[in-house]
């Protein structure tokens, strides 16, 4: 056996494949399901459009309802403000005095006061249920009720 190796000998088919390696066998393409794909896309598109329109309609409906409520609140606030003004006008001391004189009432006599045996839960006698913080703010009940 010689120590020198013989050159590699290539067979013809190998040489031809080597010369034509930029070419390849193209298999017959698989049949595409174009119709199914189109249907799916149409359905998806339709669902998307329907969903968008539905959501928009719902949003518009909710918005209209919100507008209605806001208008209701605005009207209620307007009526409330007017009622506050009306009450204040009706409580006007000049009006009360004129109305009292008109129905035949007269000015009170000399001021007298009674010596009571015990305090009554009237003005100036704070009920025990009120906290000191509340008691320190005599306006709070009136103003809180108004708001």
């Amino acid at each position: 056996m010689s120590a020198i190796t013989a050159p590699l000998r290539r067979t013809r088919p190998e040489l031809e494949r080597s010369a034509q390696r930029h070419l390849r066998v193209v298999e017959e393409p698989a049949p595409r399901r174009t119709l199914a794909y189109a249907i799916v896309m149409i359905v998806v598109f339709g669902v998307a459009v329907f969903g968008t329109v539905s959501l928009n309609a719902l949003a518009a409906g909710a918005s209209v309802e919100a507008r209605g409520l806001e208008a209701h609140v605005t009207e209620a606030e307007r009526v409330y403000a007017q009622l506050v003004a009306d009450v204040a006008a009706l409580e006007d001391p000049a009006r009360v005095r004129a109305a009292a004189l008109e129905i035949g009432m007269t000015a009170p006599g000399p001021v007298r006061h009674l010596a009571l045996e015990r305090n009554l839960p009237a003005d100036g006698a704070l009920p025990d249920s009120r906290t000191p913080d509340e008691a320190a703010d005599p306006l709070k009940p009136m103003l809180s009720a108004e708001r």
């Binding site: 930029h22 928009n56 949003a59 518009a60 918005s63 209209v64 606030e77 307007r78 403000a81 007017q82 506050v84 003004a85 009306d86 009450v87 204040a88 006008a89 409580e91 006007d92 001391p93 000049a94 005095r97 035949g104 007269t106 006599g109 000399p110 001021v111 007298r112 006061h113 009674l114 010596a115 003005d123 100036g124 703010d137 306006l139 709070k140 009136m142 103003l143 809180s144 108004e146 708001r147």
Partner: protein, 653 residues
């Protein structure tokens, strides 16, 4: 099969290489073109998204966004008990777009006819707006885009106009400032302009607190101008204005205004002012000036009627100041209430002669008697011992010569020359309340110091503010400043009590049933308007406090040019009326032990019986008059016959 020649092989390889290179070249060109397009697109994106982003966003927002300003509701003004003195309601404003009433052309040259005839629209609006149709027509034909037809009218009127559905006519909602009690405390509360900006009084002083912060509503709109229901909707709610709670008491204010108006009419005066303050806190319970005005109906009143004269107008306090002169002398240890002095009815100072109001023999009077009799001569003698420097210093300590800490617009500080500028007759003149001028509030403040055991507390009109939580945030109480000692204050109060309850007191008409009152009358001639000297017109005053031993209320009354002109005859009874109402409002019990229930019931029954008797007597008189007039005829309470009867009598058969 023969193999290809080397030449053919080289040609084939060259062909293959050429084909591959062409393909590669085309791909590269395509990539290059795509790269250029991508770069161009990226550059444009950077330009749009980064460089011009702000400008484009603004343009976009202008095109589709609509920002509506939401006006803040102005805060209310309450009295000390929470009763509303000023509030805001929603009113309607009627406007028109005059372009709708004339034919126009579009930019494309198309003719747009008028939506309606101005005359027809005006005729429809006139009865609703209570305006002349011709006036409305004139406004509708103006060459403008927007005209007001009626501002801040009743909401119902706006709804009525809206229901008419007239083209070119619109209705806006605007806040309208309303003063439910009308003229009550009008000069103190002040008023706003039509755009709710404070113009006068506390509305002006606290405008920043009351006005609040407007909000915004951001909407998206379609090209047609309609709102996009599902579009962006950002609401920044307006911050409601803070409410202001005053120290005024509505009931006391009403009584004070009524008393001032009655006094003005009864004494034929040109004006009257009353100030009521609470001792210790400096709270002003009432501040009334007549003539007044109704802030709801401005326009026809005299502008001077809007002035809060109790703080803007000054006058010479007259004898009411003697209490301050004597208080200074007592504080300095110069005299005591029981110090006896020899008092003649005249005294000469620097060539001028000063007299008492009534001639009398030279008498030995105590300082208390000098106060009780309101002796000019005795007061001048005390002032001479006190000296001008001390008198000047004490008067300034009592609040003369500078405005109070109230901060009310137009408040005057009065007139008090520095003692170094005084001349020979200044000391005696100023000691008895002439040659010096104060506001009524300053006078009430000085007496408040005496009532408050010698500690001066600045008067205040605002107790606190109320935010959206409904809680009152009190204004810090003003610090007190001692002017005279507690002992001196008590001594002066005792002397002032004698001026009301003493036998020779000049203020007897200031007595209040059930209470001891301490006070002083004052009568001063008004300076001539044209120059030096005094006119023949007078200012009548009374200042006092009650209960005398532990004062809770100070009332100061000033009547301008009354007849009779004596303060003890005109201002004192007004003081009594107002003081009684103030004591009742503050629930100050009358002095002495209260009645037992049976006694109180019996007294009440007697009072009711007296009223009933008076009513029965009046009814009897009316019935008698009717009966005397003949059966079947109806007369009024005054006994005047009706027209038919009168005609019958005048037309005998």
């Amino acid at each position: 099969m023969p193999s290809a020649s080397p030449r053919h092989s080289r040609r084939g390889a060259a062909v293959l290489r050429t084909s591959e290179q062409v393909a590669v070249r085309r791909i590269r060109w395509t990539l290059a073109i795509f790269a250029v397009l991508v770069l161009a697109t990226t550059a444009k994106l950077v330009e749009i998204q980064v460089l011009d982003a702000a400008d484009l966003a603004a343009v976009s927002e202008r095109q589709r966004a609509r920002t509506i300003e939401l006006p803040a509701t102005r805060g209310r003004i309450y009295d000390r008990d929470g009763d509303v003195l000023a509030t805001s309601v929603q009113a309607a404003t009627i406007y028109a777009d005059p372009r709708a009433f004339r034919a126009t052309e579009t930019p494309d040259g198309l003719e747009v006819p008028a939506a309606a005839a101005a005359g027809d629209v005006a005729a429809a609006l006139a009865p609703v707006l209570s305006q002349d149709a011709a006036t409305i027509t004139e406004r509708l034909e103006e060459d403008r885009h927007f005209v007001y037809l009626a501002r801040q009218v009743a909401h119902e009127m706006g709804e009525e106009v809206r229901a008419l559905g007239l083209p070119g006519i619109g209705v806006l909602v605007e806040p309208h400032r309303l003063y439910p009690a009308g003229p009550l405390a009008g000069q103190v509360v002040g008023f706003t302009d039509i755009d709710a900006q404070g113009l006068q009084g506390l509305e002006s002083v606290y405008d920043g607190v009351l006005s609040g912060t407007p909000g915004t509503l951001l909407l998206e709109r379609a090209p047609g101008g309609l709102d996009i229901a599902s579009g962006v909707r950002e609401l920044s709610p307006p911050a409601v204005g803070t409410d202001v709670v005053l120290s005024l008491d509505r009931e006391v204010q009403h009584v004070a205004e009524l008393a001032a108006a009655t006094a003005m009419e009864e004494y034929d005066a040109v004006g009257a002012s009353i100030v009521v303050t609470e001792v210790g806190t400096g709270d002003i319970l009432a501040m009334a000036s007549t003539p007044g005005f109704d802030p709801n109906e401005r326009g026809d009143e005299d502008p001077s009627d809007r002035r809060n004269r109790a703080v803007t107008d000054v006058f010479e306090p007259g004898s009411t100041q003697k209490a301050l002169t004597i208080a200074a002398a007592v504080e300095e240890g110069i005299v005591t209430p029981s110090t006896t002095m020899s008092v003649a009815d005249t005294i000469s100072v620097s060539g001028s002669t000063f007299t008492d109001s009534a001639s009398h023999a030279t008498s030995q009077w105590t300082v208390t008697e000098i106060m009780e009799r309101s002796s000019n001569v005795g007061t001048i003698q005390i002032a001479q011992e006190l000296g001008p420097e001390q008198l000047d210093a004490y008067l300034r300590s009592f609040g003369y010569g500078r405005p109070t800490a109230l901060g009310f617009p137009g408040e005057s500080g009065g007139l008090l020359r520095h003692h170094e500028d005084w001349w020979g007759t200044s000391l005696p003149t100023i000691a008895m309340g002439h040659g010096v001028a104060v506001t009524l509030l300053q006078l009430a403040h000085s007496y408040g110091t005496i009532a408050n055991d010698g500690v001066a507390v600045s008067p205040r009109l605002v107790r606190g503010t109320v935010g959206e939580d409904g809680r009152l945030s009190p204004v810090p109480a003003p610090p007190g400043e001692r002017v005279i000692s507690t002992t001196t204050a008590a001594a002066v109060r005792a002397m002032l009590e004698e001026a009301v309850h003493g036998e020779a007191g000049t203020g007897g008409l200031a007595r209040v049933d059930g209470y001891r009152v301490a006070g002083k009358t004052g009568t001063a001639r008004k300076p001539s308007e044209g120059g030096a000297g005094y006119s023949n017109q007078y200012i009548a005053t009374f200042v006092g406090m009650a209960p005398a031993d532990d004062p809770r209320v100070v009332v100061a009354v000033m009547i301008d040019e009354p007849w009779p002109f004596y303060g003890g005859l005109t201002a004192a009874p007004v003081f009594a009326e107002v003081m009684q109402a103030a004591l009742v409002a503050l629930r100050v019990p009358p002095e002495g032990a209260g009645d037992e229930l049976p006694t109180a019931l019996q007294l009440a029954a007697e009072h009711a019986a007296r009223i009933a008797d008076a009513e029965v007597a009046a009814a009897d008189a009316a019935a008698r008059a009717v009966l005397e007039g003949g059966p079947g005829l109806v007369g009024d309470a005054a006994g005047d016959p009706p027209a038919e009867q009168a005609a019958g009598v005048a037309d005998p058969p």
